[in-house]
Amino acid sequence: MNTPTLSKTKKTARGIFGTLIIPVAVGLILWIVCAANGVSMFSNAQSLTIFVRGVATVMLTTIALAINLNSGRFDFSLGSVATLSAVISAQITLNAGGNALTMLILSIVFGILLGAVSGGIYVLLRLPPIITSLGVALLYEGLAFTITKGSNVSFYGKTDVSGITTNVLYMLIIIAAVLLITIVLFDRSRFGYRYKALMAGQKVSVNTGIKEVSNAVVCYAFSGALMSIVGYLTATSVGIISVDILNFGSIGVMFSAFLPMFIGGFIGRYSNDKLGYLLAAITMTFFSMTYSALSVKSSTQSIINAVLLVVFLIYLSNEKTVKDIAALKHIRNLFKKKTDGETNND
């Protein structure tokens, strides 16, 4: 719409270019860097599994974060939802028997429940989510620890519950299914239209009679479902769930999703933001694979990631079209007093 003069083919070409430039360029550059050092990102049979699993994990986390953050809702509880849902479903599956699918389904069920409770606490208390989600994170961490009486959950020898995470095809199915469901739910469904309306114009939407409370709770439940899959993937691929997460040990997960969220939002301008999150996840996983291939120290990794985040933000903040990115706008608005940003007042 911004450039109505462009012809349709040109526009499509621009869309494709903008969509793919970041993952392709990053992949290429990192491939060259690896090659120059005589190593490869995909050096062994496991690499592809790791890669796909990495993409799945990052994408799901990013979407889970973005769903609420785009509406100005910070959610510190993401990591704790992942751990707690995995702990509960693992306890049930390990004690009562069941296979990988049972555990995955149980995880998702509890993820939805935990997400809904988290959202429920928010709408009930009507406090800024940045506060309630801190409380929820503490609560869920405590629960995960208490349920296992402080013992890590081990899957060792239970190959039947870890079948999914070692299979590339299954994980591709998970990625595709999540992407599809997310796009349908948020871009095509009635719920999604209401979600967007609330996001862009909270006051007008609420005055029009759109039910914000239920919409918010569904968002939290959905994000809980995604995080439960993340928790499941992590738990079963490693074979152990560490419950040593007391005192906010679980919130790091949220921070790791910032960079892919911004990248995904940027890509989304040229196509679809959910597709953007997938491509951003691929981009981020390229980095992870490279770090591993080059044995980059973890402190160096965190500096590189932080610098990337800042540089990308600087680019976004100083670009004229920055207003298009809802996520960034919301973050900025969040801590400022709201002006009438949501209506059309000039």
Partner: protein, 326 residues
């Protein structure tokens, strides 16, 4: 007439609610004493423990109030404290001078604060995300400082003389006095609150958002520096896990202490101290009650979470809106 009445009622309730945090602290103290008597605890050690564990948090949080007043949010405070402690420790080990160590601590944290704030101001970045990035950078920096000479720690010896509650209390009193002065009795504090209350209005009153953001980070930086110094003195061995307790607990503490999360004119400088002492006393109580229960730490954390949510709910009762807050 009616108007005046509703107003009075409103402001009376407001006053009562604004007292919630201090009432909470008093209740917690009473509980602590009662349960302490029942459990036959060592009160002298207990109060010392409370002071020891609260002061560093209180100092860093008090400085951070300036940032929160603007409605900004800094998540890198814990990492910054660690960098400050590391730098101070290294300087002390090299020079043996406590004064230089203190200076270094403050200088290091000021530098970290300035990077965050200047980066945010110049490039117009959202503070929260900038500090998320800063947190990673600062953790990596401290990792380098700690492992720079091999080994996994910076060990400082010879400072145990400074490790007592009186030194801590003196630091707390002096720094709080400075902060209260700046916050309540100078132009700077007033303008901070105005900015937090309505940045557009403040801007249209000639208040520079950037200047005061940087000033806020400077005040916070001083607090972090003092906190870093006291951390180094207290821990005497600095590892990458040092001060990890501070980061998110600052947030819990100031909210617990009655600081509105959106900042602005209702910001309170005392919230940091009230909150820090409250959460530490609560922890002590839970330790006493649950020490022998398996999985106690998890249960204690659940109780803390519920307490936290209940407290903030009570304290913000008057500010409900039709729309969900964001």
């Amino acid at each position: 007439m009616d108007k005046v009445k509703t107003n009075e009622k409103f402001s009376k309730r407001q006053k009562l609610i604004s007292l919630t945090p201090i009432i909470g602290l008093v209740i917690l103290l009473i509980l602590y004493v009662v349960i302490g008597i029942i459990k036959d605890i060592n009160f002298k050690a207990g109060f010392e423990a409370i002071v020891n564990q609260s002061v560093i948090l209180a100092i860093v949080a008090t400085g951070a109030i300036f940032i929160f007043t603007l409605g900004s949010f800094d998540i890198s405070l814990g990492a910054s404290t660690l960098v400050s402690a590391c730098a101070g420790g290294l300087v002390y080990n090299a020079t043996g001078s406590v004064a230089l160590m203190l200076l270094t601590c403050v200088a290091a944290s000021l530098a970290a604060s300035l990077v965050s704030s200047v980066l945010g101001s110049i490039f117009n970045l959202p503070v929260f995300v900038t500090t998320v990035a800063m947190m990673s950078v600062l953790s990596a920096v401290s990792e380098m400082l700690i492992t720079g000479k091999g080994g996994n720690q910076i060990r400082i010896s010879g400072l145990s003389g400074l490790e007592n509650i009186w030194v801590k209390l003196i630091f707390l009193v002096i720094f709080t006095a400075i902060c209260v002065f700046v916050f309540e009795f100078t132009k700077v504090g007033r303008r901070q609150k105005a900015l937090g209350g309505n940045p557009v209005c403040a801007k249209l009153t000639g208040i520079s958002v950037k200047t005061y953001a940087i000033l806020a980070f400077i005040m916070a930086g001083v607090g972090i520096g003092l906190g870093g110094f006291l951390t180094a003195v207290r821990a005497s061995t600095i590892t990458s896990g040092t001060a990890s307790d501070i980061g998110m607990n600052i947030f819990i503490a100031i909210v617990f202490g009655g600081m509105p999360i959106s900042g602005g004119p209702r910001s309170r400088i005392y919230a940091a101290i009230i909150g820090s002492f409250s959460i530490r006393i609560l922890s002590q109580i839970l330790t006493m009650l649950l020490a022998a229960v398996p999985g106690a730490n998890g249960i204690a954390q659940i109780v803390r979470a519920i307490f936290f949510l209940a407290m903030v709910y009570l304290a913000s009762m008057n500010y409900r809106t039709k729309m969900l807050p964001r």
